[in-house]
Subunit: 204 residues, 2 copies
């Protein structure tokens, strides 16, 4: 697959994948673009166009073959190319994300969590160790992990981000409501929850 896939298409393809996973779980063999479109409240021509970008769309006589379409999305989006990440902050959100088993299906492997709370350090969440944040530097060097999922309280966000940068983290998935200042070469994805909520409810 050499074509560049836009962010919007990636987003939709992962939603199709969620639907296919549900279909598979309920033993449904086929799915139509219309069925997908209806669930997402979008146009079915859009669904067909997105799917046509996949190498093998799994098009059968009576719709797409669920299993094949699902595998095709996984291959195209690189779900099998495991990406290792650390979770920084073992609070409720960090714990929720560490427990989110769906991540592994998408190639995201949580290697460990980090915190500075001595009551948490040494414990496990979903079989992943909570480590002392002081050891982060060492661990990124040893493991080569360069993705961090940031779930610390707002007031620590920037100082911890500085620490991540020093430890050679290159990608920060930011769940805090703070916009981080990072040097060039480090990428931040702001999981802007309130922005999403306001987009959703703006017209209520």
């Amino acid at each position: 697959m050499e074509t560049k896939i836009s962010e919007k298409v990636i987003n939709r393809l992962t939603l199709y994948h969620c639907i296919l996973t549900d279909y598979l779980a309920s033993n449904q063999e086929f799915i139509s673009s219309k069925q997908i479109a209806q669930l997402l409240n979008i146009d079915d021509s859009q669904v067909r166009k997105d799917i046509s970008m996949l190498n093998n769309s799994g098009k059968g006589r009576v719709g797409y073959i669920v299993k094949e379409l699902k595998m095709s999305i996984e291959k195209t989006l690189g779900f099998k190319k495991t990406k290792n990440a650390f979770i920084i902050g073992a609070g409720n959100l960090g714990t929720a994300l560490a427990n989110y088993d769906n991540f592994t299906n998408y190639g995201l492997n949580i290697v460990a969590l980090f915190d500075n709370d001595t009551r948490k350090i040494g414990k496990t969440v979903n079989n992943k160790l909570i480590l002392d944040i002081a050891k982060l530097d060492n661990l990124t060097k040893k493991t080569g992990v360069d993705i961090a999922i940031l779930t610390v309280p707002r007031q620590y966000a920037q100082s911890i981000a500085d620490r991540l940068v020093k430890a050679n983290i290159k990608y920060i998935w930011n769940f805090t409501p703070s916009v981080l200042s990072v040097p060039e070469g480090v990428q931040v994805w702001n999981e802007n929850l309130m922005g999403n909520f306001l987009q959703f409810t703006y017209n209520i």
Copy 2:
């Protein structure tokens, strides 16, 4: 403010708001479009254009006045128009969201949580009661709350969504990795975390 604001602009304005909150917290009075643009890795002409949509941009001699620009965003996006919501599922994610004090700054008020776990029912999270899911119907009628934040495990997502629809919930903010089937008149916002992650890391 009569102009329709696009979802993308809403999203960016909330990010500007995060930055302004941080600036205010560190007692900085002024901010330039360049400073905002740099933090978000976008063009500063974009920032100026977005801000020009606000009724009062708080433009001063040496940049925008942080306090005024912040208030202006709040007014335009209706942060003061409180929206009441229930959280369905008092697990780690539901608890994390109930603890997310930032919500109230954006006009999102969590009225209560619901769960079916008798060990959780009756307890509180961040001063909000965890109630029996069996009482949902009654409570939506009494309170008029029509927004639900869905954080239950994947396998219960659809059956709980059916229940929410029956209880007259009109807006579902869906944090589960399941795509919900709902009747017309009910809106779902899929918080597609894995889609976001893959957009972020696709080129790694």
